[in-house]
């Protein structure tokens, strides 16, 4: 099969797909880089020429920059911790034989199919509304003062909403991993005298390491750029401004494309730093 002819034919046939994907990635990246070095104010004079690193300096020296990086990391970290821990617990629970297993599993996965905008609105209006929300009624039922979720505990509220969306994904991946565990291995550890918690720590958790790695990596990629949940709930107020939200504000609210592009490049750099750290910490699980 692998003659010289067949190999060059294969390259030729793969070329369109490779070129398309490469262009898909390179064109926006190049345009962002290009605009990040220009003063471009669409409503105030348009493209006003090269400005060197002005945009980069201004973006970092803004008082909102470091808080936004911090918020981004808190939200990503919080959602990862919640989804992994509860994902493992739910996966172990769903692995138990029970009546109506199929339906329960589908229901658990359902939140993943709800669009981020919709789920954030549902949480905001039905659960977290300080006057008519279900939580407010619950608090009043016990005689407590309702919490104004989205202003008093804004970051926690967003972590909760996003976790609810991503928990099904984590559960699903971890459930398949739990199911692939050889039952003889558990029985062997049982005969070796391992108690339930030791079986979890020594056998089940190491078996899940690879699946946890995948959950963490994939979720991080998507969570670094969450936007809709913040847009429809707090609109970036009350300390919920993430890096991607700050960029959105610079481009659309301040109408400064150059400044926003510089922020975009910072976001790329931040994503890469996080990715490198994650690869260092958990990526070695993928080799085994």
């Amino acid at each position: 099969m692998a003659t010289k002819n067949s190999r060059s034919a294969a390259r030729l046939m793969m070329a369109p797909a490779v070129i398309l994907l490469l262009g898909w990635m390179l064109v926006p990246l190049t345009m962002t880089l290009w605009f990040s070095f220009r003063k471009y104010l669409p409503l105030r004079g348009g493209d006003l020429g090269w400005v060197g690193f002005d945009n980069y300096v201004r973006f970092v020296s803004s008082s909102s920059f470091w808080p936004s990086v911090q918020t981004t990391l808190i939200i990503v970290g919080g959602v990862l911790a919640i989804t992994v821990v509860f994902g493992i617990l739910l996966a172990l629970l769903l692995d138990q034989p029970m009546w109506g297993q199929g339906i329960v599993r589908i229901l658990v996965i359902a939140p993943f199919f709800v669009m981020p905008t919709v789920s954030a609105l549902v949480w905001k209006n039905i659960f977290m509304d300080p006057v008519n929300g279900l939580f407010a009624h619950l608090w009043k039922f016990f005689g407590a003062t309702p919490i104004e979720w989205l202003s008093q505990a804004s970051v926690q509220s967003i972590v909760m909403i996003v976790s609810w969306q991503w928990l099904p994904f984590a559960t699903l991946i971890l459930l398949t991993a739990v199911q692939s565990l050889d039952s003889e291995r558990l029985e062997a550890s049982e005969m070796d005298g391992a108690k339930p918690l030791q079986r979890f720590g020594y056998i089940i958790l190491p078996h899940l390491a690879r699946a946890i790695t995948i959950v963490v990596l994939i979720q991080t990629i998507f969570l670094l750029s969450i936007f809709a949940e913040i847009f429809v709930t707090t609109g970036g107020a009350f300390g919920t401004k993430t890096l991607s939200y700050l960029i959105f504000q610079r481009v659309l609210e301040s109408q400064n494309i150059g400044l926003g592009s510089a922020g975009g490049i910072y976001a790329v750099i931040l994503a890469n730093i996080v990715a490198i750290f994650l690869m260092r910490i958990v990526g070695k699980n993928l080799d085994a």
Binding site: E187, E190, M191, G193
Partner: protein
Amino acid sequence: MGSITLKQVTKSFGPVDVIKPIDLEVEDGEFVVFVGPSGCGKSTLLRLIAGLEDVTSGHIEINSKDATTIPPAKRGLAMVFQSYALYPHMSVRKNIAFPLKMAGIDKAVIDRKVDEAARVLNLSDYIDRRPGQLSGGQRQRVAIGRAIVREPDAFLFDEPLSNLDAALRGNMRLEISELHQSLKTTMIYVTHDQVEAMTMADKIVVLRDGIIEQVGAPIELYKNPRNLFVAGFIGSPKMNFITGAEAEKKDAHTIGVRPEHFSVSRSKGTWKGTVGVAEHLGSDTFLHVSADGVGTLTVRADGEVDLKYGDDVHVTADPNKIYRFGTDGNTIR
């Protein structure tokens, strides 16, 4: 110490009775093999003894104490699984040390015991590798090592050799037998391979459909099978069964003759036939003879015999080695 007694033990999965009431006595230091076709309940019986399954009724006694409700870890038994069930993320050393670590034994004692077990099983060179980097035979030895270090009252083996190739299987058979000789610990071994049963066992338990068909020493089972099933299961190649007129001459519903109890002649004999396939092994020759009136017979001849496809032969059964079975399948004595 390692005697095991089963008293009227049964096991049902829903409406299916996998084990019908079974009584069995395993004495200290004995090598007992459970053998039978697949689905006969031999693995289930082993898991009941191990405590991995609960009995439906009856009692299991270990060292004359009722162990029916004792959890698996406390029964003092070690099990070697068919899939080896090694822990893939741990090195060989940690795998073998695992039961000791769970028992909370001192680190220095663990190291000494693991090194000793690794030396006995020739695993010292691989002690820091992971199971994934070992061959099938080596993995098997790690699984045995994990069982040995616990110094159990009895070892339970669940078809431990079925994942190995034929040559390795022969070697491991010897190693397990030698291990039994040196440890003198009770061993219960489940297999569907009657060769393993014959070569390793002190006592064979033949099972069919959750019932014990016969218990006895290998040669006892070979010489005096209680019924058609045991006669057909023990011995390789299988015993020849002849029904009809030839059997009625001997006042039996079925007569059985083992391949090695025939003699072959070109000129005269009881049954005349033609040679079908002839398997020449050098040490023996197996002839598949289609004899007139009795059907196809498997005949073993000593050494090399100059017979080939299509030759006419006469076969005679040794009159003292003909087994007779009644209509119920039981042996007529």
